[in-house]
Symmetry: C2
Subunit: 423 residues, 2 copies
Amino acid sequence: MATTAQSVADVCAQAKRASRHLARLDTATKNAALGRVAAALEQRADEILYANARDVEAGEETGLDAGLLDRLELTEARLAGIASDVRSIAALPDPVGETIGGHRLENGLDVRRVRVPLGVVAVVYEARPNVTVDCSALCLKSGNAIVLRGSSIAAHSNSVLADVVSSAALSAGVPEGAISIVSGGDRDELRQIATQDGVVDLVIPRGGEGLKAALKEHATVPVIYAAGGNAHVFVDSSADLDDAVRIAVNAKVQRPSTCNAAETLLVHADIAGEFLPPVLRALRESRVELRVDARARSLAGELDGSVRDATEADWATEYHALILAVKVVDSVGEAIEHVNRFGSGHSEAIVTGSVDSARAFTTDVDAAAVYVNASTRFTDGGVFGMGAEIGNSTQKLHARGPIGLRELTTYKFVVEGSGQVRE
Amino acid sequence: MATTAQSVADVCAQAKRASRHLARLDTATKNAALGRVAAALEQRADEILYANARDVEAGEETGLDAGLLDRLELTEARLAGIASDVRSIAALPDPVGETIGGHRLENGLDVRRVRVPLGVVAVVYEARPNVTVDCSALCLKSGNAIVLRGSSIAAHSNSVLADVVSSAALSAGVPEGAISIVSGGDRDELRQIATQDGVVDLVIPRGGEGLKAALKEHATVPVIYAAGGNAHVFVDSSADLDDAVRIAVNAKVQRPSTCNAAETLLVHADIAGEFLPPVLRALRESRVELRVDARARSLAGELDGSVRDATEADWATEYHALILAVKVVDSVGEAIEHVNRFGSGHSEAIVTGSVDSARAFTTDVDAAAVYVNASTRFTDGGVFGMGAEIGNSTQKLHARGPIGLRELTTYKFVVEGSGQVRE
């Protein structure tokens, strides 16, 4: 494992060297290494939990909020879950070496596109120590070296976890430098990682807007940004209203802190008078705080005093909490326009009985995942059959939606001939 | 067409609006528009050539070098070639709407990955006015709006060409704002284009290092960078030496200004004494200036006085001219190491009779295109069967190698259900 005595440039250069070896490691070796990582997490649980307790204690002393402390804390059960995730990653198909396509040219050259690892992936993240293990496992399986840069809040946890993972991997034949961590204490590290042109092939930020803004300012290497999720459920005039209630409630309340949870409910004017009373009642019963526009209020029937008027700012707000904005629209076109204007391009749903509306929505809404008659909550690499994910992209280049093993690869053209030259 | 009176932000915003319509234009309409563009280039040839003559004249007055003037100049024949390229793009398959994959989940949800346009592509480029047309045609066919920012050197040519293309496209039902050009006179335009977050989906620079450095400094939107090409031909100990001579000469001299032309010849020590005399003679006969390392000199037989000693700097130099560096190495491993250290990840070739060497080279060399027993000169979208290309990427994210129509798209997940919610 890289120690903090090394410079960031040294850590990245060592990762680059390791990446050459990693690219040709066979699947059996990578899977065996992941098996040892999972076992080591269990064997060294006491050590990990002790280090984590130090971070949690320090966090409590400095007054971290309860949500952050919860994300920071490891328990025996959580650690077992992390080890189990590593074993699941070992069980996924290896993306490296897949022939994506190929053909023979007129001159006899055989051109194939072959999937290869990216090289060095840097993951910069905030409090969650499980990211240290999950991302290391995904990069190892996809043949990439990883440089981790966690938060100083989790420094003790991350340092032990990175040592557990990298030493277990090393013992199974993974090259030195394949899994490295930089201290996380130095603000300048982020800038250094993000400017290792030709060495770091990709930076994946897993954290808030501050982290992304810092990368936008400094990064000269490729970055995949994931916006948060300002997701919508639009209930069309032809919707099955029972389905619509279940979908709206599920999209909001099943796990409100996630990026694919709904933040705004759009309702077609034609059914608003019929639909709003039952859906708002069901949402209130699930303790959802409501922000409604004037038309919704006029059609909603009786509302208790807690229901506030929505303002323009509500359409743009990602609550990630039990709060939902509600708006009445006159057409599927108006709904699409609203979604494209305020949405973050993550997950958007229409509930409809009309094939025309469904087709308009899926074609015209500009988002990573577009749903017809289903909750937005399904956007997830595991659910989509891609295995574990390292993040969820809302940008359009390279990977859109879940970033799984395959999205951690690139391709090269392998061209085989028998002496061909160009005329 | 956007006029220079509009701000860059306005031009980009209009392109974004146009991109929503473009995304659902059917293939027949797009092809008809491309047909009209090709016809308009022919019908308005006089106007285009007159504008171009003004640029060329101004360029001569300000003392542009001959190479730049040549790239700037349009002739009737070149214009006919450009129109013919537009018709070829119309004949290519439309990438939009392709279902990349899909399956039904256990809960009955149908998940499909569907190819969609990126949205707004900005192309920033230097003197060549043909880029204005080629890139507009590729973006139109792939359903993207394009914002062009050419060089002030070609301002008259580009202004007329953009008007010809956009008005012809408009007449066929392509939305206003789909093809726009900004003046090219204002240095700040580049920064403005490159910071249109959420509006410009991709910037493609087609130009030199200065342009790329400016983008690296300013860009907050995604950019695909194309490094130049420092390509190598490695002749292994088991190579067919006649093939090796033909490949080395072709890779260097067939078109030395291109990125896939070879800049260094690596020769295995075991056959250097036999191979170097004929290959260096053939290269000298093609007027190639040679820079040889000490071992190559000692094994090359008689060399004329023009042959210089290679220095460390030669390994890193992209001559893009009739100059070739020559080095003797002891193994395929040493060749791979040299290529990975000095190459730019564009096109790399091995000439060998050994399957082990071929496998090592294709696996371990980190480049967009890796050749066995063929010239590096084939790396090209057209040659690879991808149709025309908007550029050639040496970075690993999204597109590696030729950037064709398919590489100008992204995908979305379309998920269809019957009321599914997440448990």
